[in-house]
């Protein structure tokens, strides 16, 4: 795939736009369709696209295994951390209205944080599953 010139050029042009579109979907999830899950899958799809064109070792250099594995856990930690922050500030678990002086702003902050957590976890898990499947050697027949 590396030897096909057109594919390489088109991939290098498209992948930044895919990542920006993923960020757009993530942050615009409040005003239109979107949110953490869709954005996470699009981020993973962009890196998988890179891996398909330039090879899995190149993608592993770009997004190392350690980073992907820590992303998987970090997202859940952010989500749970937001919930615990709500508890520490006086409300119940995952109460957002205590996170700021104005309860509506608190809702905004809470929703932003949990969607960020979901984005990080979903993109990390999808990418890791792809790495594991694509990096496995096929057993010779018999």
């Amino acid at each position: 795939m590396r030897d096909f010139f057109v594919l390489r050029v088109v991939a290098k042009m498209l992948i930044p736009f895919m990542l920006i579109f993923a960020l757009y979907v993530q942050f615009h999830g409040d005003f239109g369709p979107g949110g953490g899950f869709q954005a996470g899958v699009i981020v993973a799809a962009a890196v998988i696209f890179y891996a398909l064109i330039f090879g899995l070792p190149a993608a592993r250099l770009l997004v190392p295994d350690a980073l992907v594995e820590s992303m998987m856990a970090l997202g859940v930690l952010i989500y749970g951390g937001t919930g615990i922050a709500g508890m520490l500030l006086g409300g119940n678990f995952l109460d957002y209205f205590v996170l700021s002086a104005n309860p509506v702003t608190g809702q905004h902050v809470g929703i932003f944080l949990v969607e960020a957590g979901v984005l990080v976890t979903v993109s990390g898990v999808m990418l890791k599953i792809f790495y594991v499947f694509a990096g496995r050697a096929k057993l010779p027949p018999g």
Binding site: V25, G29, D30, F31, G32, P33, G34, G35, F37, Q38, V41, I42, A44, A45, I48, L56, P57, E69, M72, A73, G75, V76, Y79, G80, G83, F93, L94, Y96, P103, V104, T105, Q107, H108, G110, I111, V114, E115, G117, V118, T121, V122, G124, V125, M126, K128, I129, F130, V132, F133, A134, G135, R136, A137, K138
Partner: protein
């Protein structure tokens, strides 16, 4: 068209064709969902069903073999069971609310509160987002944990046996020759 697709998935034995057909089926399902005003769900179904799902199935076919052998001997009982289940479900569905009935219980139970008070209480126009992240945030926490667990499970099952590096493979070939 979706019925045709599904029937061809049932009959088709070449698994690569089955995977491509399931990708097409996911895209069609996404357009049906847009027609039903479910835009968030359609975006997720298109991204997940036609993107990640197809990639995973293709890599699994590469690792496990791409042809289905001859069908099971006893197919008739399975067909009769399926038709029986279909008949029972059709009979049950006659008691369900009509399509697009505003008085159906789904529209009158708790959703009017979400629709009327939600945008004001949370300041977020997208109703699906604030129900998902704020009113039902606990369920979304569980879902994130499920995704995380699936990632851990796949790592635990498929750890080890990396592809050999090209230099190692070349060294082996030179050694054997």
């Amino acid at each position: 068209m979706m019925a045709l697709l599904v029937l061809s998935v049932v009959v088709q034995r070449n698994l690569f064709v089955v995977v491509v057909l399931s990708g097409i089926y996911s895209f069609l399902m996404a357009t049906v969902l847009v027609a039903l005003d479910a835009v968030d769900v359609a975006m997720t179904e298109a991204a997940v069903g036609a993107g990640i799902s197809t990639v995973l199935l293709l890599s699994a076919i590469h690792l496990a073999g791409a042809e289905e052998s001859r069908p099971l001997r006893y197919r008739l009982p399975a067909l009769l069971v399926s038709i029986g289940v279909a008949a029972a479900l059709v009979y049950g569905s006659l008691g369900l609310p009509r399509f697009s009935d505003p008085a159906a219980p789904i529209h009158t139970h708790v959703v009017p509160r979400y629709i009327q008070d939600g945008p004001r209480e949370t300041g977020v126009p997208n109703m699906v987002t604030f129900v998902l992240a704020s009113y039902r945030g606990y369920d979304t926490f569980g879902e994130t944990t499920v995704v995380f667990t699936a990632g851990i499970g796949v790592i635990a099952l498929l750890r080890g046996r990396r592809k050999k590096k090209q230099s190692e493979a070349n060294a082996e070939i030179r050694h054997d020759a």
